[in-house]
Symmetry: C2
C-alpha cells in the first residue's frame, strides 16, 4: 500500500548541508536513495555557507587534496526546505563552533518537515537545539563526544537509527542509507522504498533497533582526543 | 595477518573516472572505503575528459539540476595510476560511444595494477577491451545490455563481484562497496579492511558468490529500451 499523502505538494524540497570535511558516504548514500525518487517527487540541492567548492573527505585528508563539490546555494539563498539532510564527518568537529551554520540550521530546522542526520551530523543538530527533549542516536565510536552537545537529549546507545517524527538521526556512516530508506517509506510508501533498495542492490537493514555496531561505544574517543590536542 | 607487500611504493595512486550521469553511490561508496586508508596509503583523484564540473545523478535527473563535482585532472594531465575506479550510472550509456574516454580507459587500464568497475561501469571496461577473455559481472537488472558489449567475456549472472586479478567488476551500485573492501583486504590485509568496514558501520558482504539480487536479471531491460527510444 502506498502511504504517500496526495495532499502534500510535490516535489518535496530536500537540502543537504555540506561543509569541508563532510564524509563521502554520509552524504551520497542517502542522496542515492532520495534521488532515485526522481526530480518530480523530490528536488535535491547542496547548501553551504558560501558557494565555494566544498571538500568531501574522511579523517586525515588535507581538504585541498580531497574531491570537491559545488554547492547549489549559500545559506542566504537556499529555498524553503521540506527535508534537511545533515551528514557527519570530521568537519562537524569544526562546524559545531560555526555560529552562522548553527544559526542557519536552528532556524531552518524549526520550519522543515524533517531534519535528518547521519553519524556526527547529530552533533550539529544537538548544538542547534533540534534534539532537545528528543530521542536520538549517532556514530557509536564517537558516542559520548557527540552526546555531550545534547544534554537534554535521550541518547540511544544501541540503535541503527531513531525516528522521532520531525527529527530523525542515524548511527554512523552507512546507517544513513538505512534511515533514508525508512523516511522514503514513511513519505512515499514501503513499496517505493523496497524498489529503490532493490534497484540499488542494497541489502536494507529495516529494523531501527538492530544495531550491529553498538559494541563500538566510544572506541574512537582516544583517537578523537589525539586529534583535538594536535 | 597483514598481507600488504612492503616492496610496493605507497601511496598507491587511485583515479576515479567520472562523467555526467555518474551514479552517486557507485562513486562515493568505494571512495569512502579507499579514502579511509588515508593519504599515506592511497592517493585519490577524480579524472574526467575535461576539468569542467561533472553532474552526479541517478536516472531521470537533468544534469543541470544535479550535484556537481570538480575533477582533479583531465585525461591528458592525469598521473600514472595504480588503481582505476570506474563507477556506473546512466552516463555510461552515452560514454560507451565516447572514443576519447574509451581510448583513455583502454590505454590506462593496460598499465594499471587494478581496474575496477561498479554496476554499468563494466560496460565501459568491456568497450575498452579490458574484459576480453575474463570473467566479469555487472548490475543484474541491466545484465544482457551490458553483456552485449563484451562478447569475449565470461559474464557471471550470479555474483556480488568478480575479482580476476588486474580487473575486478562488481554487481549494481551498493556491490561496489563490498568489492572495494575486498580489494583493500587483498592489498592491505584483511584486518585493515575489517577495521574500515566497522569504522563506517558497514555490514560488509564478504562472499563474492552470494548474490541476493541475481533474481533481478534483465528486469530493467524494458525501461532501458524506453530510455533509448525517447
Amino acid at each position: 500500500m502506498d502511504m504517500s499523502d496526495d495532499a502534500t505538494p510535490r516535489p518535496l524540497v530536500l537540502g543537504a548541508l555540506i561543509f569541508d570535511g563532510v564524509e563521502p558516504l554520509d552524504l551520497f548514500g542517502p542522496l542515492e536513495m532520495w534521488m532515485n525518487l526522481g526530480p518530480d517527487l523530490v528536488s535535491v540541492s547542496l547548501i553551504a555557507e558560501t558557494t565555494e567548492p566544498v571538500a568531501v573527505a574522511t579523517v586525515g585528508w588535507p581538504f585541498e587534496l580531497a574531491p570537491r563539490l559545488l554547492p547549489h546555494y549559500d545559506f542566504e539563498h537556499a529555498p524553503a526546505l521540506d527535508i534537511i539532510l545533515v551528514p557527519g564527518g570530521v568537519g562537524t568537529l569544526r562546524e559545531v563552533d560555526n555560529p552562522r551554520l548553527i544559526e542557519w540550521l536552528s532556524s531552518r530546522g524549526a520550519d522543515a518537515e524533517i531534519t535528518t542526520s547521519v553519524c556526527t551530523g547529530a552533533q550539529l543538530l544537538a548544538q542547534a537545539g533540534l534534539l532537545d527533549d528528543r530521542s536520538a542516536t549517532t556514530n557509536k565510536a564517537f558516542f559520548s563526544y557527540v552526546a555531550g552537545f545534547g544534554e537534554r537529549t535521550d541518547w540511544q546507545r544501541s540503535a541503527r537509527w531513531v525516528d522521532s517524527g520531525s527529527v530523525a538521526t542515524s548511527s554512523g556512516v552507512s546507517a544513513g542509507i538505512d534511515l533514508s530508506l525508512a523516511l522514503i517509506a514513511r513519505l512515499f510508501g514501503q513499496e517505493r522504498a523496497e524498489q529503490i533498495a532493490a534497484g540499488t542492490e542494497y541489502a536494507w537493514h529495516r529494523d531501527p533497533a538492530h544495531d550491529p555496531f553498538a559494541d563500538q561505544i566510544d572506541i574512537a574517543m582516544p583517537f578523537l582526543e589525539s586529534l583535538q590536542s594536535a
